[in-house]
Symmetry: C2
Subunit: 111 residues, 2 copies
């Protein structure tokens, strides 16, 4: 058993997968791979998910060092979220799942 942040995991995959299991996390990472995004842009991408839910997902990804925040010294302050190097390394896995899904659900996606 592996202990991490008060929870137990049975193997490396179980623990690693936990980092991206949350509903919006994979989608957020894929979009940040295209470039840094502001909170409102991410909210638009996730089709208007509540501020609380998106904020919680971003906080967890930040705490797990998968994304980071860039705060520009401007007035009003501008904040952008971006992938860390650690986050970048997860993108190939997400791209495989995305391609797999496009292939499996081509009938639904073509609509």
């Amino acid at each position: 058993m592996i202990e991490y942040k008060g929870k137990s995991y049975i193997c490396a995959l179980d623990l690693g997968f936990e980092m991206i299991r949350g509903k919006w996390k994979a989608v957020i990472l894929c979009h940040l791979h295209d470039g840094p995004k502001r909170f409102l842009e991410l909210q638009r991408i996730t089709c208007g998910v509540s501020q609380k839910v998106l904020s919680e997902s971003l906080k967890q990804l930040e705490s797990d060092k998968i994304i980071t925040k860039h705060i520009y010294a401007e007035v009003p302050p501008k904040v952008e979220y971006l992938l860390t190097e650690k986050g970048q390394e997860l993108v190939p896995a997400l791209k495989i799942i995305e391609q797999w899904s496009k292939k499996q659900f081509s009938d639904l996606l073509d609509k």
Copy 2:
């Protein structure tokens, strides 16, 4: 929006990821990649997760055609779970996440 089994998804990744989001699914798929397994073997691998939870995960994976069941004509009947071709195609993504986790959490995993 993509509609699938009564739920809405914002993109192919969102939908594809849903197929493996459930707590034990990724771990089950990775182990079935090593070869077909019986229910009790999977229960041992998942460190004694309840019969109900494991059974539910397997049913969902079967319904999504990611795994299948082979029932041997024996008495008592022998049942084995195995990956479908569709399931096999997800394994490379899971292997990336597993390797990523081993790298990120090497300090925890070496214990």
